[in-house]
Each structure stands twice: as structure tokens, then as C-alpha cells.
């Protein structure tokens, strides 16, 4: 009888509220709702504008194979480049974070962290410039070596692109772009590992690596995964760097070192949009919708992983 509510209906307490409070809380709520509206707007825009392409007969869609046939290689290219980026960047980012947090001398650790953070903010177009001017030519000998020695693997079947502007190069550029994002998050969670955990491990006579493996990595795992997903989201949506670096002239292929590569959704929109009109534009926006859904999926997955892991990591 005690925990349930009182027998009489509780009197509705309508506290007197000041005008200032009402205006301010109303403003805050409106701002929040505005975000919902903007997002709904973006969603509605994407759906409405892609409808003509979705309902169009296959011959009218660019490539004349229908919408699915048009978008499929783009989705493949988007996922492939982002996957390469993720596979390359995650271990390196963890290494950077470990190095800065536990290995580097204290005096240089902070400036190093600052420099790496700074790289997260370098405009993507600069990465694109650099990718064409420096990275792609440097990679050619390496690709030739790959083809010669590992050519039996379909990934490195060749023929080698003589300019180096391949899927692997694009993936590497993306990897370098998302490296600072992942490492920043990893560094943060590593730095937050409770001193007690670390000292407990060291007090047991653990070496530095054993301390990291026992105390730091389990604690930071969700942060690293979250950072990786964030980086993946960025890689999926990257536009200019890919448009500049990648040689796009092929369909679905796992061959990473030749000239013929599938484009990515974002880069394809940037490349095709200026000269497009009519249904072509709708088709591009439909591909944008696909990209939006993919990133939505990745972000939801990231949040889910982080939340699920949070229960076990000992973080609060």
C-alpha cells in the first residue's frame, strides 16, 4: 500500500513558471525538434528525389541496366575502399594511441598527440592533392612487386596501374584520413584506464605489454571499436579525396592494383552531378539515399557495440 500511489488522484502540481524559464526551455526544445525536422527534411528530400529513379524503367536509368545495376558497383566500391581503410587504419591507430599514451617520452607525447589531432582536421581535398601528387606514384613499385610475388591472389592479379591510382591507393588515402579520428578516441579511452587497474597489473609483476593486454586493451576495446566505426562512417562518405585519387572505370572487381576500379557513391555523385540533368540527377540522389542508409546502419551498429560493451568494460 505504501509504494503505490495515494488513493486520491494526486493533485496536478502545475508549478508557477517564470517567463524566462518558459522561453528558455521552449527554445531548447525547439532547437532539439529542429534537428528532427532537418533530419526528416534530409530523409524526405532523399526519398522524394529518388522516387523517379526507383520507379523508372531500367532503360532510362544511366547504364540502361536499371537502378540496382547502376548502384551495385558503387556500393561495392564504397564498401571495399572503406573496408581497406578500416583494416589498415585500426591497428595503426591503436599503435599510435599506445605509443603516445604509454611508450613515448612524456615531453614529446603531448605535442605528438596535438599533431595527430591536427591531421584529423586537414581538409579532404588536401588529402586528394597529396594522394595524386605523392602517394600514387610512390606505390607503383610496390604494386609491381605485389603482382610479381603475390599475383596468384585475386586481390593482386594486376595488370598493375602505371599511375598507381588504384583502389588500394584510395583505401590507403582514406586510411590516413581516418587514422587521426580513431587514434584520438583510442588515446582518450586508453588515457582513462583507471590507474588502479594499471597499477594492479604492474604490482603483479606484469611487463608493460602484459599490463596493456590485461588492463588497458579490455578497458579500451569499446572505445576503439566506436572510433573505428566513426572512422568507417567518415570513410564511407568521403567524396573529394576519392574523386581525385581513384581511377574509376570498372565494375565490381576485387583486383586492388589495376586501373579499372568501381567508383564510390559519394565520389560518383561529385563526378557526375555537374553534367547531369533530369532522371540522371534522381539516380544520383537515389545512390545518395543508399549511402545514407549504409552510414545509418554503420552508426547504429557502432552505438550498439559501444553500449553493449560498456556494460562489460568496467567503464561507467
Amino acid at each position: 500500500m505504501t509504494t503505490t500511489s495515494a488513493p486520491t488522484e494526486p493533485p496536478v502540481q502545475r508549478p508557477v513558471r517564470r517567463i524566462g524559464d518558459r522561453v528558455f526551455s521552449g527554445g531548447a526544445r525547439i532547437a532539439g525538434i529542429l534537428i528532427l525536422i532537418v533530419l526528416a527534411g534530409v530523409g524526405a528530400f532523399l526519398v522524394v528525389e529518388s522516387l523517379p529513379a526507383i520507379t523508372a524503367s531500367p532503360e532510362d536509368v544511366p547504364g540502361e541496366g536499371g537502378l540496382a545495376a547502376y548502384i551495385a558497383p558503387l556500393i561495392f566500391g564504397t564498401l571495399l575502399s572503406a573496408l581497406i581503410a578500416l583494416l589498415v587504419a585500426t591497428p595503426l591507430a591503436v599503435a599510435i594511441a599506445l605509443f603516445i599514451t604509454f611508450y613515448a617520452p612524456r615531453r614529446i607525447a603531448q605535442p605528438l598527440g596535438y599533431v595527430v589531432d591536427l591531421l584529423a582536421a586537414i581538409p579532404s581535398i588536401v588529402y586528394g592533392f597529396w594522394g595524386i601528387a605523392w602517394l600514387a606514384p610512390q606505390m607503383v613499385p610496390f604494386y609491381e612487386w605485389l603482382e610479381e610475388n603475390l599475383g596468384f591472389i585475386p586481390l593482386f592479379a594486376g595488370p598493375v596501374s602505371t599511375t598507381g591510382r588504384t583502389m588500394l591507393t584510395a583505401g590507403l588515402v582514406l586510411a590516413i584520413m581516418i587514422l587521426p579520428i580513431i587514434s584520438a578516441l583510442a588515446r582518450e579511452v586508453f588515457g582513462q584506464t583507471p590507474a588502479l587497474h594499471r597499477e594492479a597489473a604492474l604490482a603483479l609483476g606484469a611487463t608493460r605489454w602484459e599490463m596493456i593486454r590485461m588492463a588497458v586493451l579490455p578497458y579500451g576495446r569499446s572505445g576503439v571499436i566506436g572510433g573505428a566505426m566513426l572512422g568507417l562512417g567518415r570513410a564511407l562518405g568521403e567524396t573529394m579525396a576519392i574523386a581525385l585519387v581513384l581511377s574509376v572505370s570498372g565494375g565490381i572487381t576485387f583486383n586492388l592494383i589495376s586501373s579499372g576500379n568501381p567508383s564510390t557513391i559519394a565520389a560518383n555523385i561529385a563526378l557526375e552531378f555537374p553534367e547531369s540533368s533530369g532522371l540522371d540527377v534522381n539516380t544520383l540522389i537515389a545512390s545518395g539515399l543508399a549511402l545514407f542508409l549504409i552510414t545509418l546502419l554503420v552508426n547504429t551498429l557502432a552505438r550498439w557495440i559501444v553500449n553493449r560493451r560498456a556494460d562489460f568494460s568496467g567503464a561507467n
Binding site: 534537428i35 581538409p123 552531378f273 545518395g288 554503420v298 552508426n299
Partner: protein, 357 residues
């Protein structure tokens, strides 16, 4: 390494704790020197270039150190040393492209980083000379507008989520902000363009459209960082303020925000840095022009990323002049971002709650 002949630094501990053998402190150096020697030999056999030399040295040195450590210190320490080598070399690998990026931009961009670049636009410029004054101003104006739109909305949303929000609306806003961080930048640009085009007719290119597009990208970043920072403000301060008879909104404005101002400033500045270099959305919303335009509500504006993009992809004759300008604009963008980061640091130092005695 000259001191290596001195007494081994690892004299047995005086406390007499039994300990396994340890490698002397010069051992890693020696191992890597040996690795370098072997690398030269290997290189002479095949083909020696700096890249392969470094790779051979690191690989051989790591193996040598691991083997030596395993023999003297046992497997646990050997693994520790191996991981140290791996972490350091992974860090080195990661730094190579990052450093080369900076060097490349500096070497290509410094040449045109002169007075003319900052003082003139592209009006009447063919070939040599010209500058990016108009693009710099355009970037400042568009980014300023973006900040003006995003910060109030983002901050108020964060305040709503932390101070007022309850139930389903709060949860859905949190989720939607997450979704919004995933909007690809080009999609944001197309959305802003379509929005304005439906009112003002197609072909519309205005600074404000770009600002709206960038805001779509910036708001979630602001909300996220502001939310984190506001959550860190201790509840006790809010209660202290309420207990003084201060209304909630004044408590937020005068106690919560000032306490969090350092973090808010840093978060906002980093959010600006995140959008200032966006190219794709500006291409379809703001366009490009040669002349300086201070009015974001009338006509096209030049912005640094778009300027750099067009200078690189549509150079005149001879192309080199335009390409130089593109690199310098890229360098200028990096400098701008660096400046913003610096400002963020200053803000957090400037406004940090005082704790000193």
C-alpha cells in the same frame, strides 16, 4: 652509444631480489645496428634503396632483439620487447604519410604564400599572379554564418538533452543526432541546394545556402561535444544556484555554461575546423566567382576549398600558375585549421575554471 663500454647499468639489485638476467641498455641499439649492417649486405645483393634499407633494418633488428632477449631474459620480456618494437614501428609507419603530406603541401604551397595572395582576388588575372583574398573572405563569411546557425541550435539542443529532456523526445533526438553525424557531406550539400532551389528557383548559388549545408554537418558535432561537456558540470553547482533562488534558465546561463565554457569553446572550434575544409557541399551550393563578394545573400562566393579545387582541376595556360595557387590555398586551409586549433587551446586555457591557490 659511447658509454656502452662502461659498467653494465644493471648491477644486481642491492636488495637481493632474485632476478632473471637482463640485457644491457645498449642491447637494442646494438641489435638495430646489426640489423642495419645486415640490411646493407642484403641490399647490395639485391637492390639498395632507402625504403628497402629501412624496412630490412627494422625487421632484422626486431628479430635480433627478440632472439637475444628470449635467450637472456626469457619469453615474457622478449614478447614485451617485440611488442615495443612493433608499436614503435607501426607508429613510424603511420607518421611517414602524415609527415610527407605536410611536407608536400608546404613545399608546393609556400612559393605563392605572399602578400599578393592575401591581398588580391582573381579579377583580371590570367596566368601568373592573383590571389585568394576573395576566397579567404568567402570562407570566413560562410564559416562564420555556419557557426552562427549551428552554435545556437547545437548548444540549445545539448542544453535540452542535458537539462530539460526526458522520455521519448530526448531519446529520439539523441538517436537522430547520431544519424545526422552520418550524413555524407555531398548529400548535405544537395539537400541545402534543393531546399533553397524550391523557394528561389533552380541554379541558386548563395553563401547562405552553403552555410546551411555546412550547418547540417556541423550541428551534430556541436551537440555531441557540448552534451559531453555539459554533463561534466557537477550537479551540486546547479543545486547551489537553485538554492539561492535563481531560476533554472539563469542557472544554466550564468552557472552551467560559464563552468563549461572552456570545453564548449574547444568543441565548437574543433567543429568549425571540421567543416571549414568541406569542398563537395560548397561546390553545389555556393559556386565560385573571381571577385570578392561580402554578401552571403546575393550571388556566388568563392571559398578556399572550392577555389583550390577549381584552380587544380581547371587551370589555365600554362597550368602551373593555377596549380601553385591551388596548393597555396590548401596550405592556407591547413594554416586556418591550425589557427583554429590554437584558438581552441587558448580558449580552454583562458576560461578554464580557476583552481589555483
Amino acid at each position: 652509444m659511447s658509454q656502452t663500454t662502461a659498467a653494465p647499468p644493471d648491477a644486481p639489485a642491492p636488495t637481493g631480489i632474485p632476478r632473471a638476467g637482463r640485457l644491457p641498455r645498449w642491447a637494442p641499439y646494438a641489435c638495430f645496428a646489426a640489423g642495419a649492417g645486415a640490411a646493407v649486405l642484403l641490399g647490395l645483393l639485391t637492390s639498395l634503396n632507402p625504403a628497402t634499407f629501412v624496412i630490412y633494418t627494422v625487421v632484422l633488428g626486431t628479430i635480433a632483439l627478440y632472439v637475444a632477449s628470449r635467450r637472456v631474459e626469457g619469453s615474457r620480456r622478449a614478447i614485451d620487447r617485440l611488442v615495443t618494437c612493433l608499436v614503435v614501428s607501426a607508429f613510424g609507419i603511420a607518421m611517414v604519410p602524415l609527415i610527407s603530406l605536410v611536407i608536400e603541401v608546404l613545399s608546393q604551397g609556400l612559393e605563392r604564400l605572399d602578400g599578393e595572395f592575401f591581398s588580391s582576388s582573381l579579377v583580371g588575372v590570367v596566368g601568373e599572379g592573383g590571389g585568394a583574398y576573395h576566397a579567404l573572405m568567402g570562407t570566413l563569411i560562410v564559416t562564420g554564418l555556419t557557426t552562427l546557425i549551428s552554435v545556437p541550435i547545437g548548444l540549445m539542443t545539448a542544453i535540452y538533452l542535458v537539462e530539460y529532456g526526458t522520455g521519448r523526445l530526448k531519446r529520439s533526438i539523441t538517436f537522430m543526432v547520431d544519424v545526422m553525424t552520418g550524413i555524407p557531406s555531398i548529400v548535405a550539400g544537395l539537400f541545402a541546394y534543393a531546399l533553397f532551389a524550391s523557394f528561389l528557383g533552380p541554379g541558386i548559388r548563395l553563401g547562405i545556402v552553403g552555410a546551411v549545408a555546412l550547418s547540417v554537418l556541423m550541428i551534430p558535432v556541436v551537440v555531441r561535444s557540448a552534451e559531453e561537456v555539459l554533463k561534466l558540470v557537477p550537479n551540486e553547482l546547479r543545486e547551489a544556484s537553485y538554492a539561492l533562488g535563481v531560476p533554472k534558465w539563469r542557472t544554466i546561463v550564468k552557472v552551467v555554461i560559464p563552468t563549461a565554457i572552456a570545453g564548449l569553446g574547444t568543441g565548437i572550434t574543433l567543429a568549425i575546423a571540421r567543416v571549414v575544409g568541406e569542398t563537395a557541399p560548397l561546390l553545389v551550393t555556393v559556386g565560385i566567382t573571381n571577385a570578392t563578394n561580402f554578401d552571403p545573400f546575393d550571388g556566388r562566393m568563392a571559398t578556399l576549398p572550392v577555389y583550390a579545387y577549381y584552380q587544380l582541376t581547371q587551370p589555365g595556360v600554362p597550368p602551373q600558375f593555377a596549380i601553385d595557387r591551388a596548393w597555396t590555398a590548401a596550405l592556407l586551409l591547413i594554416i586556418l585549421v591550425m589557427g583554429l586549433n590554437l584558438v581552441a587551446r587558448l580558449i580552454s586555457r583562458f576560461f578554464a575554471p580557476k583552481t589555483g591557490r
